[in-house]
Amino acid sequence: MAEERVRTGAPAFSWRDWWDKAGMLVVFVLLFAGLSLKVPNFLTWQNMIGLSLSVSTVGMVACTMLFCLASGDFDISVESTVAFGGVLAAVVITSTGSVLLGVGAGVAAGALVGLANGTIIAKLGINALITTLATMQIVRGLCFIVSGGSAVSVARESFYTLGNGTMLDVPYPIWLTLTSFVVYGVILNRTTFGRNTLAIGGNKEAALLAGIPVARTKIVIFALQGAMAAFAGVVLASQMTSGQPNSSQGFSLDVISACVLGGVSLAGGVGTISGTIAGVLIMGTVQNVMSLQNVDTFYQYVARGGILLAAVLFDQLKKR
């Protein structure tokens, strides 16, 4: 009685599906093309490098934020972890002289922060927003305590290569961001861990009853996020040749905005890596163009908020 409309064998191709996955990227490409024609100095190698550098930190953390949001959680403590990673690395390098130790310490500390977040949220069941709000304050405080209240300069030249060195004329931070996109894209699409994340965000109860280790998955996500944020902070500190305890204020919202712009649902269960990439690039491009045109800072805020709103509206209409 039921018609056999389902084919077996290889997955069928569907345009609607493809648009869902790559639609945002197409919008970005069109935007990019339009801007290249109209805005002077936009399509130059120098500006492209500058643009990519300016989104590198957000890009790296957006990879893990995608997982966090897709699993139905929230994390605003990343901004403090970014600063903390940089500060701790700077302090350790200055006192021990070893760059490797400094970077390792920074990343490990970030992972610990993430572990704490994950355990409190997944095992104790405390609301993610409140938990990460608290850790955001705590870690920020730690930044100032560890740094002694002011920025920590790093004298070792070898540390600078991480942020300022280039390969094929492209600075390392950009390569690192690209690598992150690829790695996390693979994890999301091709591993059980990635699919489980989406299932948990889509319906936590159902995932639990299907045997998915919900608490363990969430803890891993937060720990990864902490480590990623700290690593991004170390790279940033390398570019600034110093650990700045007050850097990256408001960074968390930038990352979340980029993800939402890229189609990640705040309710959980929906999200793609291509969308996130597009979101990061669109935000960065608009910022870059406004800077090139010397648009007043306050108008920049309005424009960024406006784009986010337009994107969410667009997404809502798509669902109707």
Binding site: V27, L30, L31, G34, L35, L37, K38, V39, P40, N41, F42, T44, Q46, N47, I49, G50, L53, S54, T57, G149, S150, A151, V152, S153, V154, A155, Y160, N164, L236, Q239, M240, T241, S242, Q244, N246, S247, S248, Q249, I282, V286, N288, V289, M290, S291, L292, Q293, N294, V295, T297, A303, G306, I307, A310, L313, F314, L317, K318, R320
Partner: protein
């Protein structure tokens, strides 16, 4: 309904393009010409503060005079500084003047500027090298002679105190400090040393650290000192700028026990304090050492322009001086200094 849906979707998609269209008004070929024109960036750490607003104003005046373009950017933290430098490189600027949000960013700024082929000059806050303590003397710098100006503050305080016939017994001094910034530390140290040398008891000079260098920071800091020493009847106040002293004076006034008769405050700046001088009744804010945003804004831009256009490198260190002005003398002096419009603020016609 379907039609409406479709229309809204298309409109939402074109918003980014309309934004782009609105942004880019220059056709592509003038980019070439624009690259030849001299473009100088002016980056400041606190764009909302009047001191930096004035620097920008004078930089623009310089730009008008010499015919170059000045790009003003606010950079409150390290990440934004680096992005701004890249941006200026992309825009085809040739150099920039910067008051850095953190002196320890010095090496990073120099490196990024070099990568973008930009000349760098520091103003107000001097770059510190990667060891964390010594100045980067290879970068041209214009700042106030902090120590000397601080000493002027100290002298003004002790002179006025003597004139009013205050006795050291019932007087204390409140110094609102911001020691992590070297130029600030030199100012407050200078004031304190001169006071002490003039015979003021060292243990009666109370120093307190402010978290931020604005009025609120000064107010909060002063409140701490007031709470610690409630029986002091007369206060001398000094800080690293006008705002710190103004904040402390506010704190004193709020207790209800202090006013112009028993407070002498001397600030540094000459911009924000105009509002104080214009008040109907004199307040505890007695005088200020006027420093010139004109020089810091105009001259630095001029030096940078000459460096770019004529290849004349600016001097490695230029220290500007201050002039002591009071309620009575400020209008005339500021007029002479070309700061008439600053002095005119708050004037009721």
């Amino acid at each position: 309904m379907r039609m409406l849906n479709r229309i809204v979707r298309i409109v939402a998609l074109t918003v980014p393009f309309m934004l782009a269209a609105g942004c880019g008004t220059q056709p592509a070929d003038t980019a070439h010409r624009a690259a030849k024109k001299v473009k100088i960036g002016f980056l400041v750490k606190m764009p909302e503060e009047p001191w930096f607003q004035n620097e920008w104003k004078f930089a623009r005046k310089c730009a008008d005079k010499y015919g170059f373009e000045v790009v003003t950017i606010g950079t409150p933290d390290g990440g934004k500084v680096l992005a701004a430098i890249d941006n200026m490189g992309a825009q085809g600027a040739q150099g920039f003047v910067i008051c850095t949000p953190d002196v320890k960013l010095g090496p990073a700024i120099v490196q990024r500027a070099r990568r973008n082929n930009l000349k760098v000059m520091a103003v107000d806050d001097r770059f510190v090298g990667s060891d964390g303590t010594s100045f980067m003397t290879e970068v041209p710098y214009m700042g106030i002679s902090a120590r000397k100006i601080g000493e002027m503050v100290g002298k003004a305080l002790s002179d006025e105190m003597r004139k009013r016939g205050w006795k050291a017994g019932e007087t204390a001094a409140c110094g609102v400090t911001f020691d992590e910034l070297d130029t600030a530390r030199q100012r407050t140290d200078g004031a304190a040393d001169v006071l002490a040398a003039a015979g003021f008891p060292k243990d009666k000079i109370y120093r307190v650290h402010e978290k931020t260098t604005d009025v609120e920071g000064g107010l909060n800091a002063a409140n701490i000192v007031l709470a610690q020493h409630p029986d002091v009847k007369r206060w001398l106040v000094f800080s690293m700028n006008d705002e710190g002293v103004m904040g402390a004076v506010r704190a004193l006034e709020n207790t209800g026990r202090f006013s112009a008769e028993n407070v002498i405050g001397v600030g540094i700046g000459g911009n924000s304090c105009v509002v104080e001088f214009r008040k109907e009744k004199p307040t505890g804010f007695f005088a200020t050492v006027l420093i010139s945003p004109l020089r810091h804004g105009f001259e630095t831009s001029e030096l940078m322009y000459k460096w770019i256009a004529d290849g004349v490198e600016p001097p490695k260190e230029t220290l500007t001086e201050g002039i002591l002005v009071t309620r009575e003398t400020f209008e005339k002096v500021m007029d002479e200094q070309g700061l008439t419009d600053v002095a005119a603020r708050g004037k009721s016609d």
